[in-house]
Structures are given as C-alpha cells and as structure tokens.
C-alpha cells in the first residue's frame, strides 16, 4: 500500500510533443473523466481530453506517460477537480495531492511512414499478410464476427458491424459521399466498449488517409464532417482518437505496424507475414477486441488504397 500524506510529485517519462506544448501554456481547472489501472483520463479546461498513463504504456497522442506503476491505490476518482498550471497538473487523491510535472518528459512524435512508394500489388501483398495475422491471432467479438456461442446481442452487433464495413467499402470504392456518410454513421459508436469496434475500424482508415499519397482523402473529409456535426455520436475518448487519427497521430503500436508494412516491398506474402508479425501481435494485444478491430480497419484501408490507386 502506498502511503501518501502530502503532495506527491510524479516524474513524467515521455509525452506527446503536441500535448506537452499545449500543457505549458494551459491554465485553469479541469476534472478527472475516468480512472483505470493503467490510465487516468482528464478533461482539460478547454474541453479536450488527455491521458495520464503509467510507465511501460506505449506513447500515444494526448498522452503523458508518468513514472508510476498503477493508479489504483492513489484514491483518484472520476469527477475530482484537476488544476492545470505552470507547475504542471495537480489532482487530489484520497490519500493526498498528486502533482505531475511536465518538465523533463521525453517528447514523442508519431513518425509515419510513406506508403506511396508501394505499388498496388505490394499494397495487396501487405494487406493479405496483415489479414492473415489478424484472422489467426485476432479476437472475435467485433470486426472479426461474433465469438463462438455468442449471445444474440453480440451477434446483432457483429452483424451490424459487418454491414457497416461492407457499406463503407462500397461507398469509398465508388466515391459515393452520401453512402460514405451513411456507413460512417452506421459504424460510429457501434460496439460495447469505450472505443467501440466500429470506431476502431474507422480510426485505422482515418490514419491511412492522413499518409502522403493516400487516395482516401474523400473518406477523411466525410468523417471529419460527421464528427463536427454529431460530436455526441460516440464516446468522448473515441471522438478524440478519431480526430487525432485524421491528423496522422495514433498510438505507437499502430504506427509500428505501418512502419513494418512500409518495409515489405519486394517481399512475398509469406515473407511479409514474418516482417509484420511482431508489431501486429503487439497491436492485437490492445484492449479486448480493440487491436483486432483497428487492424481490421487497416486491412480494409490497404485494400481500398490499392483499388483507388488502380483506378487513377
């Protein structure tokens, strides 16, 4: 049991460089949005969301990784006030105050690869390699379909996800913006978790759309508009993640997968599977089905990139 009577200063390990710059000038009162073992989500004074993650967590947009093993014995509860000031972030736990310094954090920038050098056939190889690994190692219950023996409600969600995915693929292929909008609305917020499966799927395509040379610009515009028009369509965490992805910013595990895919030109599908296997497994470990759902979106996005390029 940690014994904390007065204010405890927590050292930052690393942080999203954009967030760090923002925090240096941010002043005012926010609140604790949610508390988990590995992360505390904070509502900023400007209404945005950020995360305080424990050491060992991967870097991610709007995330500050702090030198602490877990948050559970600090007595931090959702709804508590959080002060953002020149000395960092101050929050109150049941056993005393906590102050997270921003100074000294290693700055993290997601560095995305370029996929425009991949030929359509190389994109197809990388998509098939990724699909193989996700099919074998992924978790059902979301974009991979219902788990064996699933209850009718899970089956219904998975069926709706499948329909939404098919509709989106059809609409993107035919540059049908109305169809894209309907499909995005059909997927957004669909799935039980804090980042619903449909959102995870969309997030990966959004990230692909941000890469140089992507043919998914139209999709990105539609998604952007939907998020602006219907901000309450899904959870705040999910909305924030989607917006960051549209700006080319996503957690390090998926960026690693993209970088490994960029290293597959000239490889056979079997070789490509081995090239991407390790980062894919790390990405699949995220959440319950989140990793699987996100990589399913990446598979769909890579196929769409190939098809859209072929039509140019």
């Amino acid at each position: 049991m940690v014994s904390v009577s007065a204010t405890t200063l927590l050292r930052p390990c690393s942080g999203d460089a954009v967030l760090l710059a923002h925090l240096r000038t941010l002043r005012g009162c926010g609140s604790v949005e949610s508390v988990f073992r590995g992360v505390i989500n904070l509502l900023l004074p400007d209404g945005g969301l950020m995360a305080l993650a424990v050491r060992g967590s991967g870097d991610a947009p709007r995330t500050l990784v702090v030198d602490i093993a877990h948050w559970l014995d600090r007595g931090v509860e959702a709804g508590r006030a959080v002060e953002f000031g020149p000395d960092g972030i101050a929050l109150q736990g049941a056993f005393g105050g906590l102050r997270v310094s921003v100074r000294g954090a290693i700055k993290w920038h997601p560095i995305l690869p370029r996929l425009d050098s991949l030929t359509p056939s190389e994109l197809a190889v990388s998509a098939r390699a990724l699909h193989h690994l996700v099919s074998v190692d992924g978790e059902p219950g979301g974009m991979l379909g219902a788990s064996p023996g699933a209850a009718p409600m899970e089956v219904a969600v998975c069926t709706a996800l499948e329909h939404g995915r098919d509709a989106l693929v059809r609409a993107v292929r035919s540059s049908d913006t109305v169809g894209m909008r309907d499909a995005v609305l059909a997927l957004l917020g669909l799935g039980p978790g804090l980042t619903p499966a449909g959102d995870d799927f969309l997030t990966a395509i959004a990230l692909l759309s941000s890469l140089d040379g992507s043919g998914l610009g139209l999709f990105a515009r539609v998604l952007h508009d939907v998020l602006d028009e219907q901000p309450g369509r899904t959870t705040l965490l999910s909305t924030t993640t989607l917006r960051e992805a549209l700006s080319g910013r996503f957690r390090a595990e998926l960026v690693d997968v993209l970088c490994s895919l960029a290293a597959t030109p000239g490889q056979s599908e079997v070789q490509a599977i081995e090239t991407v296997r390790a980062p894919v497994r790390r990405a699949l470990a995220h959440g319950h089905t989140s990793g699987t759902d996100t990589l399913s979106g990446l598979v769909a996005g890579l196929h769409l990139e190939r098809e859209l390029r072929g039509s140019l």
């Binding site: 209850a151 219904a156 319950h288 089905t289």
Partner: protein, 514 residues
Amino acid sequence: MSITAVVKKNTYFDSVSLMAISTKANSLDEVKQAFVAMGTEMNKGVLGNLGLLTPELEAAGNGDLMVVVEAREGAGADEVLARVEELLQRKASATGEATITHRTIAAAAQDNPAANLAVIAVNGAYAGREVRKALENDLHVLLFSDNVPVEEEVALKELAHEKGLLMMGPDCGTAIINNVALCFGNAVRPGSVGVVAASGTGAQEVSVRIHALGAGVSQLIGTGGRDLSEQVGGIMMIDGIRAFAADPATSVIVLVSKPPAPSVEKKVLAEIATAGKPVVVYFVGGSEEAVVAAGGHFASGSQDAALQAVRLGVNPDAAVEPLDTRRIDEVAALFKPEQRFVRGLFCGGTLCDESMYAMLESGDDVWSNIQKDPGRRLTADSPSTGHTFLDFGDDDFTNGRPHPMIDPSLRLARLVEEAKDPEVAAVVMDFVLGFGAHEDPVGVTLPAIEQAKGIAAEAGRHLEIVGYVLGTDLDTPAPADQIAALQAAGVTVTRSSTETGQFARALARKVKHA
C-alpha cells in the same frame, strides 16, 4: 421475454473488463443473455432492432453504461439484474471473487488490483519469464516450479529484493501469508511466530508443532530449497528476517533449513544480531556454537525449534512429552536376530533429513538419496542397504511425475519391496496432510502396509511400521482419523518428526545390541 435494463450514468470500464463482466453475466444460470455496453446511438439502435430498447435505455448518453439482461423462464428479472449489477460492483471495487481465467499475469493483475501475490506453477523452463512479469507488476511471488536455473533464481531474487518484494522459490511448496496457506501449507492458527524456511516440509512441521503447542504463525515465508546455497547466498532468507524484524505482529522468528552452505550460514546468522527479537535457528546438522555466538537460539530439531519459539514469544511454560521408550522395548522383542536395519520412506525431505541425522548422531551408517557423503549416496534405482532413508520428494524420484505427497505410488511399491528383505526390522514413513497434498494419504497406503506386513509374516518375521501424521486438528482429513486408521492397521504412530527420528534411532540401537 423478461427484459430488465439499467443505465449507469458516467460509468466507464475498459474493454477487457467489460468483456469479462459480459462473459460472466452470460454464464449465470438464470441469464438467457446479457449485454453490457456504452450508451451510444448505434448500440441503442441494435437494441431497438432486437426489441429491447426501453425508455430508460433510450435516454442513455454515450458516457453511460447500459446493462441489459434477459432472464431465463422462471427466473426473476430483478433478481437476475441484481446479480449482474453485483458483477459490475465487484469489478468496480475489485474486491470480489473472480473466477475468470486470465491469459497473462498482467491481465490478472489488472483485473484483481487488490492482489499482491502470484503463485506460479508452470514448466521450469518458462517460469522465470512469468516470475519477472509478476515482479514487474509489483506482485510478490511464490514459485512452485522446480528446474529453474540457479542463475535465473539469483537474478529474480535480486530483482525482488530491489523492488521490496518476496520471491519465494523456486521449488517452494509451502507458505502461509496473512493466514492463508499456499500450496502444501497446513491450516495453522494465526499467531506471533514468524517462520522463514528453505525447506517445505520442515516449514510445515515447525508450523504444525507451533499450532500443537497452542501458539500460531504470523507469516510463513518459504524461500525455496536452494536459497541458502553458495550461489544464491540466502537473499530471500535475509529479506525474510528483515521483514519479520520490522513486523510488529511477529514476536519471535524461526529459521528452518536443510544444511546450508557454510559461508551463507554465516551471513544469515549475522542478521540475527540486528533483528531486535529472538531468533530460533533450526538448520539440520547445524552448529550450535555458531548460532549461539551470533545471538540466536539453537534448535536441535523441528520440535525443539517450535518449542523454543513458543516459549520465547508466547508461553514460557510450553512443554512436550518425552519419547515413550517402553514401546521400543516391546517392539524390539518381536524381531529375529537378522532383522537389524531400519528403512525410512519419506515424502518430506526435511522429515527424512531429521530422522537420518538422528540415526547419524548415534554413529550408525545411513544410506540415502540425500546423503551428503557421496560414498553413502543412493539413486532412485539403487536397492536399499543397511539403514536406508529415502526422500521420495527429491528430484531423482519426481522427475516426470508428481510429488509423492500427491502421487504415492513409488513409495507404496518400495514399501512392499522392503518387506521382502529379511534384514529389515522396521519401516518408517511420514503422512503429510495439507491443502495441496493427497486427500487421504493413510488410506491410500493401508493396502500396501497390509501387504508388506503379510509378506514378512509369511516369512515368519514381524515387520514394524512406524508412521507420523503431519497435520493440525484444523486440517482435512483430520489427523485423528488418519492416526486411528494407522493404529488399526498395527502401525506405531509417533507424535512429531523429531520423535520419529528418536524412535528410529532407539529402535536401531536396540536391534543392534540385541
């Protein structure tokens, strides 16, 4: 269709927890199906398509958690919902009894944030990796697995030491932590005697004797049998002593080990002076002079260790009854002149060691698979010779098979073989009770005892079987029942491991001089 729904405002669970709750809820007998999800428009749409959308659910926001339960016929919807809510509450408070299978230590730690100890029992080749994960998740570790390389043991114990955690093991079969017995531990009453032991059955015996003397155990920390070896250097025993020194609930400390490496013994004894409370040292075959010089209390056996600890910390008037020598005379009178030897067949290594050392102290030659003297060391395949004492829990016997406290088959076969030897006067055996041990160690042995006695009788000999039942009145099965069954089969029952050694030694002397 009986549908009940509830909306939890601004309630967040991570996806792994949500899935666990959902799986658990769907496995409840009264539940036909359950759905736990955030209150987004699309999730509400799915519920609407299934005809499950109630006005309350319709009002849920995207930051709210929806719990929808369809009860089976005959089950009350409200009652079922209460059970699902209990799962949510349990998850939220992280104090409930989850029976979820976790695929990783990290997931288990995340799902059970109040847990601070991991018991690891996987193949020794992979055990180190799992221990490291547990330690990195700030969990104390009891490592039941054996065959872990000593270099790995040292690295893991150093990591644990740096993090202020216990790394009990490898090959650690016994611990009692906060009154919970782990692995082979016995049901012992809580008390103020702290035990640090590099010997599983030695720890069991000392804790059981403490209980028998009316006292109890604050904590029993197992260190693993190699902790006091030259390579490991007693890392965990020293940390254990320091932990007890700082523990206000512990009034006296007992150290238990098979013979330690001399340099490590010195290092461990050096800790005694700074402990600030009495320390009783029972190192099998250890030096009284060294212990006394270090400021400790030397124990000549496991019973003496328990007795001294209880006298020093709990009850100065505690006492044990002396050995009944009349029974030895009665038994010795039954043997033929050629019956000159005692054979010991033990499940517990320290119990075997204690009896063997009792024999050695009287100057007898003793052969054993755990003999320090290489000239008198036997393997699992060796036939018995002279006085032979075998530890069936040693690696040589357990390679590829369960511990004899779980699977006694090898020992039973050996008992029958010993009965065929015309030079054998008595066979000494232990019967170890405990949480992980065989559910009826005496019952499973009785047919072999009967067979062995029959073989000897057919040859016109009396074969004396001496048995010791290690356990407390709180254990299952009850020691009293086990003892009664042994006595009904004509077995002489001893009252402690120490008395077992004394009885074997006295019997050996009698037949030698008969």
